[in-house]
Symmetry: D2
Subunit: 352 residues, 4 copies
């Protein structure tokens, strides 16, 4: 009940701190007789690694996943799957000088307020390092969904004020920023480099597209599909907003514009983003999340010591300029986990 | 597990269909020895009643709440509180002609796809009528929070493209549209009337402000305060987007702009919206939701019969032009329920 | 989280006090398109009514169930089913004189210690009246199971020291004490009458038999089938012990006696009681519960006032001599609810 | 939802197979600022090790626990605690010949029926090896309880038909069989040796005593303290029955015998076993579990191959003669976990 588990039928529990000994995840509710190898998981973990794009942190993370349980002779057995990734490069001495300083935009202040204690090294449990467990579990969810013909793709819609104008999904995997518009990707890279030199960081928007999802997933009233997706995505540290389909654009729409007319076989358009009344409609599911700039900047900031005394701080060290694109596979993981969970919940109804 | 419950320590379960016999809610986890009367609940229910503002449905709903359990001689006993509101004016014959038609923008299609059956009368379980139970439970949550000095206020930030420019919280209760800007409220009313005459409907944005919330509420990692708030708000039928603090604005911000510097005693500004790392910071909590236009419009729309055959439809009857302002107390209720739940979760940590 | 819900996929929430306005239950997770009428539920409620056997309370309970939601035109819709039964004959003035007295064997002392308040009328929430909701929900669970060929039967194995020697299941419905041995039933009735005259009460043992349950139900490790059954049964007020198969007899057995040898098509015997490693084996499931004597006796007992001051008390009024046989349908209900829940949990695995 | 988690506020999730790479547990909901060292956990793990008593398996298990997260500089931080114990001595080749044989009394048949696949090595997930995670988590629960003055002690009441006659709790830690009657312990040892020579195994009864538990723990209706205790204990593989206080003896009692009269300051006797109406009464909590004989016997047994073809089998190898006394610390762990969970649940009510 400490909030480290997610899902009902397909349920994950993550653990581990940024500079603790390891991070990991337990997956409870994975069906038996599924082919799973460490490579399946590793492939996804590699996608969230630093050093993928230019705009990402040069910290060397090997991040080799180990499967400790739940898989026997290459197949899942229905028992809990324990995945572990050792932390390396974690001496944490670099953080000693920040030990007593409340870093702006980080969770230092609130963890101390809540728990009366905190592991200050690299943000401890509040670090984005925690998402390694999510991505590892998401790899298995994605494999389950793929077998059902469902694919989840997260791409960079906007970064540092530059927006993708073209929507070429095949381009997403071909540029470091996972942008569907290669030209925009080039401009984003330039913006990142300029911002890095200034010691500052950038926000952006990630869009998540789900193709192949059948109608029927989602449980009204509280466990609406978009409600669980919103929770899953908003639980990612840097996310400050979530929208589905037309999202905040609906505020300015008329009902006659917003409604998606139906025709035999489907919808005329998809402003609903593939979800009606909390249940998937069979149309593409479309979500967007607002990603805040990385709070660790090397520019001078006013803040306080733990004691409350004022101080100014520059956060040194090798930090990403933007959580994008490393956050993209995390978004994919959360969406895949929610869909897998609701897939199983819907299976129960299909009987009889 | 059908998704009709919400919360962990303070847990509500709603039931009932639009044109069934009654709607209601069970609240499990309400502390004992709290003064609760039917009037406390009725007051909140009255706020979501139609006919409050001009822009609202003239359907006459008496909505008298009955407390069936959990309260003894005016005080809660710690046992589940059962609140029931009988449905009146529910002959449902008005809906007979729509019985086999899939109404655009409604959940008709997806309920049928999910369950293979649906109560077509007034949307059945998918109707906004379900929120009566939420508001009833929220009334109790708000009372619990008030005793701790926490207040939740939802107001209309935007409606039909008209945005509140002033932010006078004392004005909110004084106009039918619950708008903090009385001048904007007047324009909104005009827009509503014009739109009603055209047979169309309007969307908008509701902002929710929480004052008096102490630091420490929220459970990382998955049960972050904003994640649970996002789920709670996104579970309201008409909501298509949720944001906290600067929300989607963070996408265009630099880290040096987005971070809230600290000073002795608090934050210099509050773009974080009162939540850092999933935990309340003691600053005001600020949330916004995008509300889609009511899908029931009397303009002609293309759609299909349940059989898939095409048809055009005009939804007649007395419908609201906008879910705002009736949705505002529902937003308050969901936020109050989430905060109460996290308040109790944090109580456990305070010991020792 | 106040402990008034039970189950995961098939989840019930009961509410109501002995002398409150009504009692009821919400069933969340009932599949759609199931034929359910009030009569289906009423039939089971009638079985737990007083006045069924001679040994039961003459309090007149009409106990007419009303279905308030979740059923449309005679079929379930997949939305929560709300069942309500009004309390009648509940003036409660009879309890005024006991208001400040801690009745031995009842929950008066512990409710006061836990909540600092209690509804003293007839035991309030701690009353066996609460089980009306369980039996109502159990009626639906039994109907679901029956369609799958699974039957649950609870019968009186022992009462007041008299044990059934014959095991004729067809006899169970034919005597008021629900005993598989008609001769024992006669002796039990005599014992009840004698005990009633003395102002005392009797305990006994109920055995529950499940026929037709396929292999595969139950989730190791913690949600073993017998673990969930034990919880469900032990949650019935009067139950003080639960055992499966050979039960406490295993303590004196050798491994070579206790193991059930296998042969093609099944087991040679069934000391395991139909469950191995927490999962049903396809053999008959056999459970037994120890039922304590009704604590309300008209003999003089030493006890205290709420204030702690000593007093002696005789509990007057029309009380049952034994919780048996009215507890038998409650046992059936709990077993049926657990099996239905695990049936759905197993459905998820059957796919693919 | 695969059933590998237990508890609500203090929640554990175990993982790992008998002959997989490791076993472990995640504890979510442990309060911050608690002193915890690996030694605290190791001490309890050592108590469940084989080779403690004569009657136990000579398999050499080092079982060194590693704390991978949740503890910083010797103190808990409020984040999930991950405990891992590597499996050693696990080549599993010894199990190759049993690969296709359904061992009587084991979960081989039911796991295969449920999952369609099983890790046959040493019972896989169904092995008692899984309880390592429970005992590790229980060590932390016991530490939390101890700070509140609550102590849990499990001792051997009966083994192989020999029953403890004396009840000297100080003797429990002084003999290998954890028996409160040293003379009975000697006879039990003799019985074990004789039985071992015959290739057979023994059952018994473990009693669990809780001292220092205040009144008020337990949540009616379904989460009664004894209901959660029954579930926790019945979820231990070898347990076939659970009773509280007088347990099955109540079946033969009169109400006037069974009720515990009250006097100023407490109860005259304690047949209720410290729990009334699902809530602890402040008296000693007393539970008993029936432990079946270890099913692995070297005597010849009739059984079948996975294919269904009949075969006879002798289970060779070094196996315990009885699950007692190694099961005793597992019982303590489960009781401690349930009490800790309910302690936290009750904390929430204490406010205000």
């Amino acid at each position: 009940m400490g909030g480290n588990s997610f899902g009902t039928l397909f349920r994950i529990t993550t653990w581990g701190e940024s500079h603790g000994r390891a991070v990991g995840v337990i997956i409870d509710g994975c069906p038996p007789r599924l082919d799973i190898t460490a490579d399946d998981v590793q492939r996804e973990l590699d996608r969230r690694k630093p050093g993928q794009g230019k705009g990402t942190s040069p910290r060397k993370e090997k991040d080799r996943v180990e499967i400790l349980s739940g898989v026997f002779e290459g197949k899942t057995t229905g028992t809990p799957i324990s995945l572990l990734i050792w932390n390396e490069d974690v001496e944490g001495t670099a953080y000693e000088e920040l030990k007593d300083i409340v870093r702006p935009g980080h969770a230092d202040f609130t963890y101390q307020a809540k728990y009366g204690i905190r592991d200050h090294r690299g943000g401890g449990r509040a670090s984005a390092r925690e998402t390694v467990g999510r991505v590892a579990a998401g790899a298995i969810a994605k494999k389950i969904l793929k077998a059902e013909g469902i694919e989840v793709l997260a791409y960079t819609l906007e970064l540092g004020g530059i927006r993708a104008e073209k929507m070429d999904y095949t381009a997403v995997g071909k540029n470091a920023l996972l942008c569907p518009d290669p030209d925009a990707a080039v401009k984003m890279e330039e913006k990142i480099e300029k911002t890095r030199l200034r010691g500052d960081t950038l926000g952006g928007i990630v869009e998540i597209l789900v193709r192949g999802c059948p109608a029927g997933l989602g449980e009204p009233v509280f466990d609406k599909l978009e409600a669980d997706l919103a929770k899953g995505l908003m639980s990612i540290g840097a996310v400050r907003g979530v929208e589905v389909g037309a999202g905040f654009r609906v505020a300015g729409m008329l009902g006659s514009e917003c409604n998606d007319p139906m025709k035999p076989g489907g919808f005329e358009k998809n402003d609903a983003g593939g979800i009606l009344g909390g249940i998937s409609s069979g149309a593409k599911i479309l979500l967007r999340v607002a990603v805040k700039p990385i709070p660790s900047i090397s520019l001078e900031q006013l803040t306080v010591y733990s004691s409350g005394r004022p101080v100014s701080v520059k956060i040194q060290g090798r930090h990403d300029v933007s959580a994008i694109p490393r956050i993209n596979p995390v978004c994919e993981a959360m969406v895949a986990i929610v869909l897998t969970d609701h897939w199983f919940r819907q299976e129960v109804l299909k009987r009889g």
